[in-house]
Amino acid sequence: METTTKPSSLADVANAHVQKAPGTRALGTGLETRGIHAWFGKNHVLSDINLDFAAGTVTALIGPSGCGKSTFIRTINRMHEFIPGAAMAGEVLLDGRDVYAAGTDVTKIRLQIGMVFQKPNPFPSMTIGENVLSGLKLSQQKVSNKDELLEECLERAGLWNEVKDRLGAHGGSLSGGQQQRLCIARALAVRPQVLLMDEPCSALDPGSTLRIEETIRHLSDTMTIIIVTHNMQQAARVSDYTAFFLSDGGPGQMIEASPTNEIFSRPRDKRTENYVTGRFG
């Protein structure tokens, strides 16, 4: 029986799936940010961001370009510090411990907080299989069941069926969407608790985008996902919580963070409403 009514608004899209409440899963205490500021040189780009990411949920970060969303997620896994002139303030608490605390092993932090980049970037000198397992080699971890892990990660990234017969081919021989799923599989192989995704679908066609969104929904059963996106439909489709970032010429600020269906149906702030209804930005 066909009873599907086509979702007509973002609010309907957001309501079409049940958002997870915090604490529905016992996966540790998750991730919190406390008063995050960021600078590039003297340029203050991000001001006082406080956000909680409950374990096992998907949070979308939306907002116009240049409002500091990418900078914010890069402070979470300490990639921010690679940019010359970068500075920050505040705390990122992973299971209650600050990732910026003195004596923290930063490579361990990045193993726990994985990242998928805007542009698919498989390693060109490695095969598909080597790409997936590259994180283990980079961090010098030994695993006994490499083949199982390889299959599991590719399966979870939704790529196994397409590549199982050519694991020895080069990563560059895949299409853009497959490459991005390969990069997701690569991030999964080191078993992160948190996965940061910086506009993972911005370079992809709608079909590949849909596949990756399915992948995100599956992954959120076992990990915390934070996704930066410019696609409001995507935020409504995949996320449990949405945070709206905005810069009024000064540093980027977080205007509002709510469950996704609320932010798209009854935003508290006028600026959020303007943005999600497409009246600006």
Partner: protein
């Protein structure tokens, strides 16, 4: 079943026979005019033919385009001819050198070259006696020793300059650039005065290789640096985001991704030193006998052999020198090919 008759494929953008005929006529006309001017005026000599031909050809093609298609097309035709001249001027001397070396050297080539050395042969002996074995093994020894020392130093320098970018980057960058201009004789004198006279007191392949290493490091370092700069930053970030330390990321991802470029750097380094003569004159002794010990004793090399044979002056010795040149060129070609093959093997898999 209906068959659709496909149109036959055409290439409307290519020159038509009429266009080609026109180009040919202009070409022939330029040759004719150049010939006429040389025979009728005071301008004489082979070079005059070339110069006049190019001038006439540029003027004719540009004038024709100006007449038929206007000013912009004339400029385009003019620059086209200039570029073609540039290419010809570059290739001509190379072709001429190769031709001369092959023509003169081939007379001195015989199988004995590769099995005998010059220990028992005098410069005036017939060409069939003696050989190049000592010089070939010597040059190969020198190049390999220099490669063993300069590849790691050169590439690590490039890694420091592009990946680590520490506080010494600027001075090191300056030094590397300055070093690439060091005259080879200076490198030779440096090793002579710093190591050979005070410490070892003896000629050896190792002394020569040290001087060659000084010449080779800047070439390898600078080329590798340019190559590493081209590796997208995404890959470095991806490596670090997967929990790699900086060194593991560089060694596992950045260097393999730059592999073919790094091999080009090594090839350019070989090209820089393989025919280098001045430091070898000071440091290797240039013996006529095969010397299996690279760390002690006089050792021959192809450039040294060529220099020595030309100096000997007899017709046989001069033919030997040309043969040596030919062998040196072929040897460099083999080294290049080998480096390419080793470098692309894994990628081609």
């Amino acid at each position: 079943m209906t068959t659709v008759s496909a149109p036959s494929p055409t290439r409307p953008w290519e020159a038509s026979p009429k266009d080609r005929l026109r180009d040919g006529v202009l070409f022939a006309l330029s040759i004719g005019l150049a010939y006429a001017v040389v025979s009728l005026t005071a301008m004489k000599g082979k070079l005059a033919y070339f110069a006049l031909f190019f001038i006439f050809y540029m003027a004719l093609t540009a004038g024709f385009q100006l007449y038929s298609r206007g000013y912009a097309a004339a400029k385009d035709a003019f620059v086209n001819s200039l570029v073609a001249i540039g290419a010809v001027v570059t290739v001509l001397p190379i072709a001429s050198i190769i031709f001369t070396v092959v023509a003169k050297g081939i007379k001195g080539i015989h199988l004995g070259l590769f099995t005998h050395d010059m220990a028992l042969a005098a410069p005036t002996d017939p060409l069939s006696s003696g050989g190049l074995l000592h010089a070939i093994t010597g040059t190969v020894t020198l190049v390999i020793l220099a490669l063993i020392m300069s590849i790691p130093i050169g590439i690590l320098t490039a890694v420091y300059l592009t990946e680590i970018r520490g506080s010494l980057t600027r001075p090191i960058q300056f030094l590397v650039q300055a070093m690439s201009g060091v005259p080879s004789i200076v490198a030779g004198l440096f090793i002579l005065s710093a190591i050979l006279y005070p410490i070892t007191h003896a000629y050896s392949a190792f002394m020569g290789a040290l001087a060659l290493t000084i010449l080779m490091i800047p070439t390898i370092a600078r080329t590798s640096q340019e190559v590493l700069k081209l590796i997208p930053n995404d890959l470095r970030e991806a490596g670090v985001a997967l929990g790699g330390t900086q060194w593991r990321t560089v060694a596992m991802i950045v260097l393999p991704a730059a592999r073919s470029g790094l091999i080009t750097a090594v090839i350019l380094g070989i090209a820089r030193i393989a025919g280098e003569t001045a430091p070898l004159l000071l440091l290797t002794g240039g013996g006529d006998k095969v010397n299996p010990n690279p760390f002690n004793g006089s050792i021959g090399s192809l450039p040294y052999y060529i220099w020595k044979s030309f100096n000997a002056g007899s017709p046989e010795a001069i033919t030997r020198a040309w043969a040596g040149l030919l062998v040196l060129m072929v040897l460099i070609l083999i080294l290049f090919t080998l480096a390419r093959l080793l470098g692309t093997r894994k990628v081609a898999r």
